[in-house]
């Protein structure tokens, strides 16, 4: 347990740097409304659960993502992000110029 009352300057800088990097990266890679979203599972179970969840007929799937088990979708309900994250799937913005067109699955 870190005692924040006495943490050293070096520890403070390290933690702050990590948090800043995370937040800045999140600001870049989090999905934007109206843009395609890359659903990136971090585990096999998550990939399995993701495929089952995406193919429930409610989600518009644009294609397979650049990583195995990932998909590019067009979100319709913002409140579903919490369920995906709980499953172990990271919803990320999809850089089409960087990753190319989603492959038809």
């Amino acid at each position: 347990m870190i005692d924040f009352r006495v943490y050293s300057p070096r520890l403070l800088l390290a933690g702050q740097s990590i948090l800043t990097a995370i937040v800045v990266a999140a600001a870049i890679v989090l999905p934007r409304a109206g843009d395609p979203v890359l659903m990136l599972p971090v585990t096999r179970q998550a990939a399995h659960d993701l495929s089952g969840r995406l193919f429930d007929g409610k989600t518009r799937i644009l294609g397979a993502g650049p990583v195995g088990g990932s998909f590019v979708i067009m979100p319709t309900d913002d409140r579903a992000w919490k369920a995906f994250i709980t499953m172990g799937v990271l919803p990320l913005a999809y850089p089409e110029r960087l990753c190319g067109e989603p492959a038809d699955g």
Binding site: F4, P9, L12, Q16, L19, V24, A27, A33
Partner: protein, 513 residues
């Protein structure tokens, strides 16, 4: 990380900036939440959560009262995240990319920390953010054109702001340091002024106490002065009486003295006049004496010339006497020689007489013989007669010669005696001439001395005349002074009367006072 110019004031300002930025970070969080609530792109909780997450470490540290360089650097890093979150919050909004202007606002806010290192770190993070956005989401971040020059344009803006803000912060720090020094100096001056003020207050207290003492002392002194004034008045009246008496006596004495002085001045005037007359007489006598002395000197000089002439003539006479004595001695010697020659002539005459006697005898004998011979002897007898006659003549002549010699000897003896007496006389005359010459020389010296004394006497007489003239001047001055003294004595008598009247009036006023 250590600042080269650490001061208490700079630390205080930095602490204030840290607290301000930490407080504002929570304002960012609230603002982001409000904005997120109005949007539909991202969940309402996400943006405030990210902002709170990045603000948490620095907030805890600031709440602990820290504002050290690590806290400032962490706070600067956290401020780079808020604009990025703001861009995220406005996802899908037309103004989404306008919010990234707040990167510059955040960098300006970080300058309140007065920490260049923190500013540089924040700028680096901002640049990295732009690079990542350019690399990962180029269409999102740089809509329309994604070339490298556009990225450089954004990064250049950040670098330029960083440069100017760094200059501003550096100058502000220098000003703070100088202000701190000035403040320290002013505090020192204020401390000194405070101490001076305390000293002044103490001095004022002392002065007030001294004034109180002076007042009491003045009251006491006034009482004492009143007593002493009364005593002084009494004493003054006594002094006035004594003064009047003294002045009266003094005036009387001065009057008497003035009268005596006037009489003395008159006497002195008379003496001066008599002195003047006698000085004139003395001057006349001295003038006559001077002239007489000069005449004596001239006569003595003439006498000295005569004596010198006599001396010369006496010398010549002595010389002539010596020459005569020499001639007399020579004559005497000649007479003696004449006597010798006369003796020799007498001897010759005697010899001739003797020869004539013998010749006569021989002639007699020859006559006798011639007579015996007869006629044959007659001629011889004649010759013998002639020889006999010659012998007789020779005897007669020798006898005459002896007589002449006797006469010569007698004359020579008489001449010798006369010459001896003449030599004696001449010796006496020569000695007398020498004595006369010595006497003349002595008289000549005496005459010279007399002439010198006469000259000195004439000079003394001249000096006496001058002194007499000066005495006449002094006598005149004495007469004038005596006249003035007499006038002064008269004036003094008047002044004494006025003094007496003034003294009486003064004493009367003193008594009345």
């Amino acid at each position: 990380m250590a600042d080269p110019l650490p001061t208490i004031e700079l630390d205080r300002i930095r602490a204030r900036g840290v607290r301000l930025l930490a407080s504002c970070s929570w304002g960012w969080i609230v603002l982001l939440g409000v904005v997120a609530a109005t949007q539909h792109g991202v969940g309402i909780w996400l943006a405030p959560a990210l902002a709170a997450l990045v603000s948490l470490p620095t907030s805890v540290a600031v709440l602990r009262g820290r504002y050290d360089p690590a806290v400032r650097l962490a706070l600067a890093l956290s401020y780079t995240a808020y604009p990025a979150v703001a861009v995220l919050v406005l996802t899908g909004h037309a103004w989404q990319m306008d919010t990234h202007l707040y990167f510059l606002v955040a960098l300006a806010a970080i300058s309140l920390l007065y920490d260049v290192q923190a500013m540089r770190a924040a700028a680096v993070v901002m640049a990295v953010h732009h690079v990542l956005a350019w690399a990962l989401m180029p269409d999102l971040a740089f809509e329309g054109s994604t070339n490298l020059f556009r990225l450089a344009l954004h990064i250049g803006a950040v670098v330029a702001e960083l440069t100017f803000l760094t200059m501003l912060v550096q100058r502000a720090k220098l000003m703070i340091v100088e202000l701190a020094a000035a403040r320290a100096a002013s505090e020192a001056i204020a401390g000194a002024a405070q101490s001076h003020r305390a000293a002044a207050e103490a001095a004022l207290d002392s002065a007030a106490k001294a004034e109180q003492r002076a007042n009491s002392e003045r009251c006491r002194r006034e009482e004492t002065e009143e007593v002493s004034r009364r005593r002084e008045r009494e004493h003054l009246i006594a002094i006035a009486d004594a003064f009047e008496t003294g002045i009266t006596h003094l005036a009387q004495s001065l009057g008497a003295a003035a009268g005596a002085l006037s009489q003395s001045a008159e006497s002195l005037n008379g003496l001066a006049q008599e002195t003047d007359i006698r000085a004139d007489s003395v001057a006349d006598v001295a003038t006559q004496a001077s002239e007489a002395a000069r005449a004596v000197a001239d006569h003595v000089a003439a006498l000295s010339g005569v004596i010198a002439d006599i001396d010369d003539r006496t010398g010549q006479q002595a010389e002539h006497a010596r020459h005569a004595r020499t001639a007399s001695a020579t004559g005497q010697q000649t007479v003696l020689s004449l006597i010798d020659r006369a003796t020799q002539v007498e001897q010759f005459a005697r010899t001739i007489g003797d020869l004539s006697i013998g010749t006569n005898l021989i002639a007699i004998n020859a006559s006798i013989e011639a007579a015996r011979v007869g006629d044959a002897g007659k001629g011889f007898a004649v010759v013998a007669g002639e020889v006999k006659m010659l012998a007789r003549q020779a005897q007669s002549e020798s006898h005459k010669i002896e007589q002449l010699v006797a006469l010569i000897r007698t004359g020579a003896a008489e001449a010798e005696d006369a010459l001896k007496e003449a030599g004696i006389v001449l010796d006496g005359a020569s000695g007398t001439a020498d004595d006369m010459r010595d006497a003349m020389r002595s008289q000549r010296r005496d005459a010279e001395a007399a002439r010198s004394r006469s000259t000195d006497l004439a000079a003394t007489a001249d000096a006496l005349v001058e002194d007499t003239d000066a005495l006449t001047g002094w006598a005149e001055a004495t007469r004038r002074l005596s006249t003035e003294v007499r006038g002064a004595a008269t004036s003094l008598s008047g002044d004494v009367s006025a003094l007496l009247q003034s003294t009486r009036a003064f004493v009367a006023q003193l008594r009345a006072a």
